[in-house]
Symmetry: C2
Subunit: 442 residues, 2 copies
């Protein structure tokens, strides 16, 4: 990554057109919305992504806990855009940007652009703790989710085999770090596995030994949502048997023993890390354009500070305003709204006409804890419990990308609701060496 790409590198083959070329890096919520909204604009849109599919991140935790199958929450880009004439997809990772040459250097070659939009999102933040980044399980990609599913199930198979009580517990116990929506949702889903699924599968184990800890550094869950939502989700989680530790943080983890900042020790093979995210700025952009949380500083048109034709949208962008001194919430609606607006502003730029500044419309927030249990707030309206859970399901179903995926998720949920079952408890890997090693460790 540090080497300057040599001049012998090949160029990515893309048809030449006379229309302006817009390269979008990243097909998350923001990049996708932008590409879709540009479909009738006279320009050439090139989407770069390291995967060939969009990932619906809000439901990753359900894949990890056997509730949904992998393919229901990811969707091939090419299928999404099969009828869009100005759209080109290229699978590759962007390594460096050369703003002077208006070129990006990628794992598959170089491409020049007229306008560049960075929509790469964020990655897991371990706050520099190397032991944690080595042994903890992140929850950001579909690969992470599959790996966690494999680990959970494999851990229970291992628990059956040991005579050592502490060792057995290490396979059956979970420490989830981070009390945001992801942490809350995964802790809740684990509690459902404990209550409804594993007692049927592992009659030889005493499921009372399965402890689920949720550790959050703040003094309330769901930071950023109203107090009532945090309180109520704590209540729901505790009803379901989750042990919630507020005002605490993880100091160290060696793959077996977790030590918290107050000295508390816990034994687990599964430390699930949902405690924070950070941007990963691409090389080539001036350091002065990078702000807190490694996000690109952008103006009200999502233009990266100091550049005329480079934009950033979504989680990776920080638009500093009076109301949002640290940038807007890093959630899907922000990214989608910025993508949609940029698709309107770009043609204005082509024509040299006036631009419309970004105005964030807060669509509210929600999290689900378990069966019939969720918290929802939209403006001043707040609700918790069954009705909130129903809203949560409806909103997620409607937000899913691809009609087919909506149908499949709907059926999966209906099936699970009736049967109290999560059917995808499958181990599909070739033996994950790293985990095997930590499994051997006593």
């Amino acid at each position: 990554m540090d080497e300057t790409p040599s001049k012998n590198r090949k160029t990515v083959k893309i048809p030449d057109t006379s229309s302006p070329r817009i390269i979008i890096i990243g097909g998350g919520f923001g990049g996708l919305e932008l590409a879709k909204s540009l479909r009738k604009v006279d320009c050439q849109v090139i989407l770069f992504d390291k995967n060939n599919h969009h990932t619906f991140q809000p439901l990753l935790y359900q894949v990890a806990t056997s509730g949904l199958e992998t393919n229901s929450i990811i969707y091939p880009f090419r299928k999404l855009f099969e009828k869009v004439k100005n759209f080109y997809f290229r699978m590759g990772e962007v390594e460096k940007i050369d703003p002077e040459a208006r070129t990006i250097y990628t794992s598959i070659g170089d491409v020049s652009y007229d306008y560049l939009v960075i929509a790469t999102g964020t990655t897991t933040n371990y706050y520099g703790m190397e032991d944690i980044s080595k042994y903890a399980v992140p929850m950001k990609s579909i690969q992470d989710a599959i790996r966690l599913r494999n680990r959970i199930i494999r851990g229970f198979e291992q628990a059956l085999l040991t005579d050592d009580f502490e060792m057995m517990n290490s396979y059956m116990d979970f420490v989830v770090v981070g009390g945001g929506p992801t942490g809350v949702e995964i802790a809740g889903a684990l509690a459902e596995l404990k209550k409804h699924v594993f007692p049927r599968d592992y009659k030889e184990l005493d499921l009372k030994e399965m402890d689920i800890h949720l550790v959050e550094a703040n003094h309330h869950l769901l930071n950023g949502m109203a107090d009532i939502s945090g309180k109520k989700s704590k209540e729901f989680l505790e009803q379901m048997g989750v042990q919630v530790h507020l005002g605490k943080s993880v100091k160290s983890y060696d793959g077996y023993k977790v030590i918290l900042n107050d000295g508390t020790e816990m034994i687990t093979k599964h430390l699930i890390w949902a405690a924070g995210v950070t941007g990963t700025p691409i090389e080539g952009i001036d350091a002065s354009a990078i702000g807190r949380g490694n996000r690109f500083l952008v103006d009200e048109y999502n233009r990266v500070k100091g550049y005329e034709n480079i934009f950033a949208i979504g989680d990776i962008a920080a638009m500093i305003t009076d109301k949002y001194p640290y940038g807007h919430p890093q959630v899907a609606p922000t990214a989608m709204q910025q993508g949609k607006l940029l698709a309107k502003n770009l043609p204005q730029i082509f024509k040299g006409q006036g631009l419309k500044p970004f105005k964030y419309l807060n669509k509210g927030a929600m999290a689900t804890i378990g069966r019939n249990k969720a918290v929802v707030e939209v403006g001043k309206f707040k609700t918790q419990g069954f009705f909130a859970w129903f809203i949560w399901m409806f909103v997620h179903l409607m937000s899913l990308v691809g009609f087919r995926n909506r149908i499949f998720v709907f059926w999966s949920w209906l099936w699970s609701y009736i049967s109290y079952d999560k059917s995808n408890r499958l181990i599909i890997d070739k033996g994950e060496e790293h985990f095997e090693q930590t499994l051997e460790k006593t």
Copy 2:
């Protein structure tokens, strides 16, 4: 595998009962049917498998060609047997059998048995050709199917990037070896991708360049079925654009160039190997009990030659009879019938009473080539085309393990039929190094 397991090895923890302990190695069609049929027998059933799920092998090719999602054709053993009291599952690989000590040595420890049933099936047979085993893609496990799907899609993404015409073709061309049901079905499914799916996804490529070759050493397809079935499937395949090469075999393959025995050369990155299977006898069984194709020679009660309490069923067993001098067909019905009969004979053995010999009921054979195109024969009844295709779908749907999987496969098929689409064209891996290497090769 060659070392004698030391006495320091641990024992697999399994509750002790006074009932006879039956260990089944392998949860394919035979092992599953046996375990199910033993559910009311007074015995302890222990199923060993390296996966935690049954794999419905007949539909692997649809996972590989993006028609079905992974989880629809595999099913967790524990879920299947959650209500069965005498059933225990252990995930592990069996390394050696010690018939004297009535013990198996496995990757997770040792276990003793009263009766042992080997139901390990077969593995891909490369007939000793190392280059082929190194570069070809097998189609025996769910991992194989996922890997092939990743390769096919990744290959098309690569084809877009090259200026070299031959190289581009190498990514787009396929050579399927073996004209049995698997080979015929996968060639047909590739032809459907060529016709209905890839033209929408890869408008920049000329799909006429996508060549699909099917190579079969015999002079007809679907050896073992009636002539009309072989002829008709060749006709169907050719209608769909597949080039069928009969009476030819593959001599060598270096990951790029295939050479046939008549000197014909073909360029492809994808050599799909469905040309034969072989047993993999477990160490510890006397060589005199191993016959042609590495199958265990069994008597009419599926008892392995020379052993009182070791049995073999399904593909790995060869029961030599006048009618079947090389053993019965290696198909699911044989395995299921043998499993069912053994479940009846075992209690008789416990009681020291007479056993019932195996009698194979030929349920017919079938293969599907594509949309509305299949061949079916049941006894003297033979049909080809739409009606055969309908029968094929019905039989496979009903044979699938798990009601939930039946529903999901049904919906997937209905969806594909209406939309002419195969929605699971996803790359989910961490970059498969081996393939990446062969991709780099010119």
